[in-house]
Subunit: 144 residues, 4 copies
Amino acid sequence: MHVTYEQAEKMINAAVNKAKETETPSCIAIVDSGANLKAFRRMDDAWVGSIDVAIKKAKTACLFAMPSGELGKLSQPNGQLYSIEHSNNGLITFPGGLPIIDEYGVLIGAIGVSGGTVANDYQIAKVGVAVAGVIDHPKHPWRT
Amino acid sequence: MHVTYEQAEKMINAAVNKAKETETPSCIAIVDSGANLKAFRRMDDAWVGSIDVAIKKAKTACLFAMPSGELGKLSQPNGQLYSIEHSNNGLITFPGGLPIIDEYGVLIGAIGVSGGTVANDYQIAKVGVAVAGVIDHPKHPWRT
Amino acid sequence: MHVTYEQAEKMINAAVNKAKETETPSCIAIVDSGANLKAFRRMDDAWVGSIDVAIKKAKTACLFAMPSGELGKLSQPNGQLYSIEHSNNGLITFPGGLPIIDEYGVLIGAIGVSGGTVANDYQIAKVGVAVAGVIDHPKHPWRT
Amino acid sequence: MHVTYEQAEKMINAAVNKAKETETPSCIAIVDSGANLKAFRRMDDAWVGSIDVAIKKAKTACLFAMPSGELGKLSQPNGQLYSIEHSNNGLITFPGGLPIIDEYGVLIGAIGVSGGTVANDYQIAKVGVAVAGVIDHPKHPWRT
């Protein structure tokens, strides 16, 4: 099961509207459940460096089926997963990436947002996810 | 000068409509004049392998300010630019990538399309470009 | 829909048996429908260089939902897709990679074999695919 | 000396059984003494992100002939090997990777496990190693 084109469009539009509201030029990426890019947009004046950050946040949230920031709690110095960022061609483990889990508990993709503070990125990602998925994640959400 | 968010959206929508008309599930990528990703969409059922091909076509058309297929004519065995595909972290030099050049002759970005035959990809890319740029390229179009 | 662990095991066992029969030490890779590795085995005495070839054959067959050798027909000098191998972090476009398509026409993954002649690799891959999928591929087989 | 196909199979089967016992969908990788992939399996529902983590744990344990977690003790901020993860195309230095050392003290390969907590990954890796190697490593175990 993958996020559809229509869902991805709606998610990005909702996220862009939220980003405009908070006046944060942002990059927004959607990947499917195989962590492959489905849709991407960079708002005018967003940092060029945010392109890859947004995509990697989405990838990270999909690959481990958890918010990117949760993984980041474990990857700090002396943490259980210290330096896991070196895997999978690079992960981004601070907030702004969220898995998209449908009403049946199935992982269908992920969203990644980069452009403002991580708190802001996270809020924008949440608005995007709410369009097509649940916000409260089950413990081990996906099926393959 | 870079393609704007609004232009990129209109270009992708036009390209997607053309792709639907020809029943070709496609990936469409827009990069700005720095060859950095501005917008991307993958239609449902498009090949997953087309994601990177579409992005690399757009990059190629931007980096050399010419249609990707023009570069491909020069990169064949015994051609002047044989194997230029090895540069820039990978180029795609068959048709489907077009530079976006505005009415003043300025390169503002590029579009890349992948999903069907190269002839079809090229037609879809042309429809996209027509929204925001000229189709007939001046010889050495860009300014920075 | 993805190839399951059980299917992947059976496919690899069938392929290894075929490889033993033809006395060809081989590498066999299975990827799921997102082109992510599901199972891999290297028989004793198989070339170390075949590890990556087998994995890339499977990836190629999955990413474009066609036998790797079909793509190779199009990627030759002056072909429509010349040098497509530069995309997706490297493709292998000679025979030995086959998509796994289930009885409902859904792409569920792919198999890649490397170790002997390409004709032999292809035969071993076919034996593997026959365990879990159809051999005659519909034109545009997969759904997402 | 390298781990054989038969040994690799037995190790993976033992590890998968242990993973089932602890209800942890896991990825398990075996590399030979040249750090090249010998066998790999991803159980159903294991994180897609664990594929590369498992392989890199095995590689890390082989490349330095020590448990991946031992290297991690030295790679922390202000540690002697701070950021060694940047070498060798990426290392994973938390527990779950173990060298396979035979009864004569020869390094014949390594195993890497990823899927659960690092404590759990480590236990599964130990069960795997016990099939073909010793658990208590000599100080500088390998010969080439």
